[in-house]
Amino acid sequence: MAVDGSLVGRAFPPTRPYRVTDEKVREFAAATGMGWESGDAVPATFPIVLAFDAMNAFLDDVQVELSRIVHGEQKFSYARPIAPGDVLTATLTVASLRQIGGNDIIGTVSEITDDSGAVVCTTSATLVHRAAEVA
């Protein structure tokens, strides 16, 4: 089932505020084989934890199964580094939608903001919604 084209431009509700902790950052860094101590830079892809939450809410809303999604492209653009203690939310907007070979190519932009409302990081993701095989 193709994703509805009228979604383009729609912003989804912000994710629940997320407090960045030393323990979570250490766990995330360890999952990529990195040691991490308080004061070290937070791994550059860490905001995906929030962006993924926002994406899940979006996929639920449009009734797309996660297993049919393959990641096409990802970008992070930072206004400032993330640090433990930050309380962040992600707001996802559908930026573009096109169909290629029966697959939906969904462009999303998630703005990660802190508790003052300032943008910390803008992440954009291209999601490929793989069409079900026709029997």
């Binding site: 999952a31 990195m34 892809t45 297993s67 393959v70 990641h71 096409g72």
Partner: protein, 132 residues
């Protein structure tokens, strides 16, 4: 370290096993079953369980951090052009990240990357800018 335009950054090779994917799934919250179930991965037309694109990207961020002693990342992007297929055995596969400093301007160093698994490039146009 000082980054200079034209500098080649020594390749870094990291192992990727099924256990790596399970651990990354837990740490990131990405429980897409194509990253842990062969049954579901093949049902949606993939060759088998594949690594999270974001896991590969996180390994690239690790290489950049190791090269630059944890320099602040300002921009980071890549396309996921080929899947990293991870067999269900003890060795798994590997991801190798190499880089070249393209430019150092206005306090930002831009690094062009090459990311391969086996002999196949897995990321398209991976690029990172760090505060130099």
């Amino acid at each position: 370290m000082t980054l200079e335009a034209g500098a080649e950054l020594a390749p870094k090779t990291y192992p990727v096993t099924r256990a790596s994917l399970v651990r990354y799934a837990g740490a990131s919250g990405d429980f897409n079953p194509i990253h842990w179930s062969d049954r579901i991965a093949t049902a949606v037309g993939l060759p088998g369980v594949i690594a999270h694109g974001m896991f590969t990207m996180a390994l690239v961020a690790r290489a950049v951090s190791e090269w630059t002693d944890g320099a602040e990342v300002v921009d980071f992007g890549a396309k996921f052009t080929n899947p990293v297929v991870v067999p269900d055995d003890d060795e798994g596969t590997t991801v190798t990240v190499s880089g070249t400093v393209k430019s150092v301007e206005d306090g930002l160093a831009t690094i062009a990357l090459t990311v391969v698994s086996g002999d196949q490039k897995v990321l398209g146009m991976p690029k990172v800018s760090v505060r130099a």
